[in-house]
C-alpha cells in the first residue's frame, strides 16, 4: 500500500481508531499494530508476506541464539549472511544474469539464460534486511538486549510507517520502546505530527509529482538531439529536487505517523542541498543510511584507523556498496563510486593549507566562499543524480554531455517556460520559511515574547498544517500518482 493512495486514509483511520481504543492494553496494541502492518505490506500481493515473516523469525532466532551461544561470531555471520543472501538473490539475480548473458554473447559463446520475465523485487526488502542486520550486530556488540518476544520483534521490523522506505532505525530507537512496560499509550506532539504529515504529503503529492510530470518526458527521450543542450540543465536540477521532495516527503509522513503512535524517530534529511561539501552532504542526506553504512560497514572495515590510504579505500568500498544497495544496476554502482571518489577528493582538498584558510574566512569573503561551495556541491550532486535516474550508462552520459552543449535554437525546449512549476517551488520555499520561523518560536519557548503570541502562533501552525494537507490534495497534478521513488529499493 502506498501512503498517497486513498485507501491508505481509510486504513489509517481504522487502525488509529482501534489503537486509541486498545492502547492501554499492551498485548492487544502490539497485536493490532502487527496485524495492521502485515495487511499494509501484503495488500495487493500476499505472496510477499512469507518473506518478511521468515526474515523476522530468522533474525529474532539469531538474536536469541546470540545470547546463549559460545560462538556468537559464527551465529552472527550466519544471520548476516542470510539477510544479505536473500537480499542479493531477489535484488541482484537479474543484473548478474544479464551481465553474464551479455558477456557470453560478446565472446561469441552460447548465451546463458536471462532472469524470468516479470521478476519482482519485494518492496522494502533493503530496508528491513538492514534493520535486521543492525539488530543482530547490536545484540552481538551487547549494545542492546535480544528481544525474547517474537511478536514484539516482528512488529519492530514490520511497523507500517517505516517498513518500506525507512528511516533505518537502530534497535535503541524503536525496539526498546516495544519492550514490556515501555509501549507508548498516547500520541506524541500532535501539532508536530500534523505539520510533518502535511509537509510530507505536500512534498510528495504536489512538488515531487508535478516535477515528475514535467521532467519524465525529457529523461525518456534523453538521447534525442531536440532535447539536449545546455537547456537540459533545468531538468537535471529539477530531478535533484524531485528525489529530495519524494524521499524527504516519505520520511516526513513516516515520522508523523510514528508520532501519532507515540514514537519519535530521527530525521533523514537536514537541508541537504545547502551542504558545502560532499562529506557534509552525506551528513544531511538519507542520514539513517549514512549512519548505518558508517556503523556497520565503514567502521568494521577499519574506518579511519588504518592511515590515510586505508581510510580512502574504506570510503570507496562503503560508497560502492551503498550505491549497489540502492539498486541492481551498474549505474547505481557507478553513482556510489563517483560519490566515493568525490569524498576522497574532498579529503585531498582538506590536506591543502589553502582549504583551511578559506574555511576560516569570515564576513563577506566567508559568505562568498560558502555560497561557492554550496553551489558547487549542489551541481556535483545534481549531475551525479543522472546515473541514479537513468538506467543505462549511455543514457546517463548523453544527459551529462548534453548539458555542456550550447545551442541557442533549443532554448524553449526545456522546462524554463513551465511557469506554474517554478512559481509553486518558489512559493513553497517562502511559505515553509515562514512556517519554520513560526515553529521555532513555538517549539523553542525561550524565544517567545508573550504567552498571547505563543497561543496565536500555535493556532497559526494548526491552521497551517490542516490547510496545507488539504492543499496537498487539491494542488496535486491529478491522475494516477507515481509511487515513491525509494519504494523500488
Amino acid at each position: 500500500m502506498n501512503f498517497t493512495e486513498p485507501r491508505f486514509a481509510w486504513f489509517l483511520l481504522a487502525v488509529f481508531t482501534l489503537w486509541l481504543i486498545c492502547r492501554r492494553f499492551e498485548r492487544a496494541q502490539v497485536g493490532l499494530v502487527l496485524v495492521a502492518s502485515l495487511v499494509f505490506y501484503g495488500v495487493g500481493n500476499w505472496r510477499l508476506l512469507p518473506l518478511i515473516l521468515v526474515y523476522a523469525v530468522v533474525n529474532w532466532a539469531v538474536g536469541c541464539r546470540l545470547r546463549a551461544t559460545t560462538r556468537p561470531r559464527l551465529v552472527l555471520g550466519l544471520g548476516v549472511a542470510f539477510n544479505l543472501g536473500v537480499l542479493a538473490y531477489f535484488k541482484y539475480t537479474p543484473m548478474l544474469l544479464t551481465t553474464l548473458h551479455d558477456a557470453f554473447v560478446a565472446l561469441g559463446w552460447p548465451p546463458t539464460p536471462l532472469a524470468q520475465e516479470g521478476w519482482a523485487i519485494p518492496f522494502g526488502i533493503s530496508f528491513y534486511a538492514f534493520t535486521g542486520i543492525a539488530y543482530m550486530v547490536d545484540v552481538y556488540r551487547r549494545t542492546t538486549d535480544a528481544e525474547r518476544h517474537l511478536g514484539r520483534y516482528a512488529l519492530s521490523v514490520t511497523f507500517f510507517p517505516h517498513l518500506v522506505a525507512g528511516p533505518i532505525l537502530r534497535p535503541s530507537e524503536y525496539l526498546t520502546q516495544l519492550r514490556p512496560g515501555h509501549v507508548p499509550t498516547q500520541s506524541l506532539a500532535p501539532l508536530e505530527a500534523c505539520l510533518l504529515l502535511a509537509r510530507g504529503f505536500f512534498k510528495k503529492m504536489v512538488l515531487a509529482d508535478r516535477i515528475a510530470l514535467a521532467i519524465d518526458p525529457f529523461f525518456v527521450h534523453v538521447k534525442d538531439s531536440s532535447t539536449a543542450g545546455v537547456w537540459a540543465l533545468p531538468f537535471v536540477y529539477l530531478y535533484a529536487w524531485q528525489i529530495y521532495f519524494d524521499f524527504s516527503g516519505y520520511t516526513d509522513i513516516a515520522r508523523g505517523l510514528g508520532l501519532l503512535f507515540g514514537f519519535r524517530w530521527p530525521d533523514n534529511f537536514n537541508l541537504p542541498y545547502l551542504a558545502g561539501s560532499i562529506a557534509e552532504f552525506w551528513h544531511r542526506w538519507h542520514i539513517t543510511l549514512s549512519r548505518f553504512l558508517r556503523d556497520y560497514l565503514y567502521i568494521p572495515l577499519g574506518g579511519s584507523r588504518g592511515g590515510w590510504w586505508r581510510t580512502n579505500v574504506n570510503l570507496m568500498l562503503t560508497m560502492l556498496l551503498g550505491g549497489l544497495w540502492h539498486g541492481a544496476s551498474w549505474s547505481f554502482m557507478l553513482w556510489g563510486a563517483i560519490h566515493g571518489l568525490l569524498l576522497v577528493l574532498h579529503r585531498c582538498w582538506q590536506l591543502l593549507p589553502v582549504s583551511k584558510r578559506l574555511a576560516g574566512a569570515t564576513g563577506p569573503a566567508g559568505w562568498l566562499w560558502r555560497g561557492l561551495c554550496v553551489g558547487l556541491t549542489f551541481h556535483l550532486v545534481a549531475f551525479v543524480w543522472c546515473f541514479f535516474r537513468l538506467t543505462t550508462l549511455a543514457q546517463s552520459w548523453a544527459c551529462l554531455s548534453g548539458c555542456f552543449q550550447f545551442d541557442p535554437g533549443l532554448w524553449r525546449v526545456g522546462v524554463v517556460d513551465k511557469m506554474g512549476l517554478w512559481l509553486l517551488l518558489g512559493g513553497y520555499g517562502l511559505v515553509v520559511a515562514l512556517a519554520f520561523r513560526l515553529s521555532r518560536l513555538h517549539f523553542e519557548p525561550t524565544q517567545l515574547p508573550r504567552p498571547a503570541v505563543a497561543t496565536l502562533s500555535r493556532g497559526f501552525l494548526w491552521g497551517f498544517g490542516v490547510t496545507m494537507f488539504v492543499l496537498a490534495i487539491l494542488l496535486s497534478p491529478g491522475g494516477q500518482a507515481p509511487p515513491f521513488i525509494y519504494f523500488q529499493f
Binding site: 512559493g427 511559505v431 497561543t455 493556532g459 490547510t467
Partner: protein, 340 residues
C-alpha cells in the same frame, strides 16, 4: 477569579482560532490564485470555455462531437492514416473497416488477425482505442471523405458503452480549442456558487468524483442489462450510425464481444441480449459470437493474462464473424483471396 479564568480561556480560544483562520486564509488564497492560473490536468475537460485543451472537434447533434475538418481528423490520426490515403482508392482488394476498443486495435487482436488470415482483404483500422462517440465521429468523417469499405465492423463491449452511461450526450461539449469536454455536474445550491466561483472549491468538487454526468453509475449495471437512460442514448447514436450506413450504402455490423467472466465464469449475457435486440430493432446487423466461445474446451486458453483474447480467442472471434456473414448471405468467399 472564576470570571477572570473564563475570560482568559475565551481569549486563549479566540487567539488560537484567530491564528488558525489567518493561516488557513493565507494558504487558501495562495492556493486559489495558483489554481486559477494553473488548473490541474484532470480538471481541464470539465472547465468549459476556460479549458486550455486543444483538439480536432466541434459540437454535433449526431454523436455529441464531430471532426472540425478533414485536416483536423488527419492531423489527429497521422500515425496510421497515411497508408490508407487517398481514401477513395484501393489496391483492388475489398476493404473492411474495423472500429473498436483494444480488442480490435491492439497488436495481434481482431484487426491484425483478420489481416493475417485473409490476405485478400484490406483491413482498415486506425490502431487507436478511442471512446465510443469518437469512433462514431471517425466513421462519419471517413465516409464523408470518400472511404467506401465493403463492410464496417464496430466491436462493442460493456466497457465501450460505460463512458456513454457515465457521461450522457447532454453533458458532452467541446472546449474552445476543440477538445472533447464535458459539462460538470454541480452540487446543490448554495454550494454550486462556490464551485462556480472558486478554483479551490471546483477542484475539491472534481476530486470527489461527483462532478461527472452520472457519478453513481457502475459497470455492473450494464452487465445486468441496459438501463432505460443508456438505452435511449444508444438508440440515438446507433440510429445515427444506421442512417450513415444507408446514406453511404455501406453495411455496418456490430460485433458484440463477450468478456472473460461471461465465458469462464458463467456471468449473464444480459448486455448482449439487450444491446443486440436494440440494435437489430434500429436496423443494424448484429453478430453475437457467444455460442462459439461457450462451445470451446479450455475456455481459459481463449484469454491472455491481461484479459484480452489470445490468438486462439481471436481466431474464434473472426470465425464467428465470417460464419455470421455466411449465414446472412454475404459469404466471405466473395471477397477474394480466401482464407489462409
Amino acid at each position: 477569579m472564576a470570571e477572570h479564568s473564563i475570560r482568559h480561556r475565551l481569549k486563549r480560544a479566540l487567539l488560537l482560532a484567530g491564528g488558525g483562520i489567518a493561516a488557513a486564509i493565507m494558504l487558501a488564497a495562495l492556493g486559489e490564485l495558483f489554481l486559477r492560473y494553473f488548473p490541474p490536468s484532470d480538471n481541464q475537460e470539465y472547465l468549459g470555455t476556460a479549458s486550455l485543451e486543444t483538439g480536432p472537434f466541434i459540437p454535433s447533434a449526431k454523436f455529441g462531437i464531430a471532426y472540425r475538418s478533414w485536416q483536423a481528423f488527419a492531423d489527429s490520426n497521422c500515425d496510421y492514416l497515411a497508408e490508407y490515403l487517398p481514401l477513395d482508392q484501393s489496391d483492388g482488394r475489398p476493404t473492411w473497416a474495423m472500429f473498436g476498443s483494444s480488442f480490435v486495435q491492439m497488436q495481434g487482436m481482431l484487426a491484425d488477425t483478420t489481416r493475417a488470415r485473409l490476405p485478400g482483404v484490406r483491413v482498415f483500422n486506425l490502431r487507436r482505442n478511442e471512446t465510443l462517440i469518437v469512433r462514431l465521429a471517425q466513421i462519419e468523417t471517413l465516409l464523408e471523405h470518400g472511404l467506401r469499405p465493403q463492410r464496417i465492423v464496430v466491436a462493442l463491449m460493456p466497457l465501450d458503452v460505460w463512458a456513454l452511461a457515465k457521461q450522457p450526450l447532454s453533458t458532452v461539449t467541446v472546449s474552445p480549442g476543440g477538445a472533447l469536454a464535458y459539462k460538470p455536474r454541480l452540487p446543490p445550491p448554495p454550494c454550486d456558487l462556490f464551485v462556480q466561483n472558486s478554483a479551490l472549491a471546483r477542484t475539491a468538487w472534481f476530486r470527489t468524483g461527483r462532478h461527472i454526468g452520472d457519478p453513481d453509475f457502475r459497470l455492473s449495471q450494464i452487465e445486468q442489462g441496459l438501463p432505460p437512460r443508456l438505452r435511449t442514448e444508444m438508440a440515438h447514436v446507433f440510429g445515427e450510425l444506421e442512417r450513415l450506413s444507408k446514406q453511404f450504402d455501406v453495411p455496418v455490423t456490430i460485433l458484440l464481444i463477450p468478456g472473460l467472466p461471461q465465458i469462464t465464469r458463467g456471468m449473464s449475457f444480459a448486455f448482449q441480449d439487450d444491446a443486440g435486440a436494440l440494435l437489430r430493432e434500429i436496423g443494424l446487423d448484429v453478430c453475437d459470437p457467444r455460442e462459439r466461445f461457450l462451445a470451446c474446451s479450455e475456455p481459459q486458453s481463449l484469454f491472455l493474462p491481461d484479459k484480452h483474447f489470445s490468438p486462439r480467442g481471436n481466431q474464434i472471434l473472426l470465425d464467428a464473424l465470417l460464419e455470421h456473414w455466411n449465414r446472412a448471405g454475404t459469404p466471405v468467399s466473395q471477397v477474394g483471396g480466401g482464407t489462409q
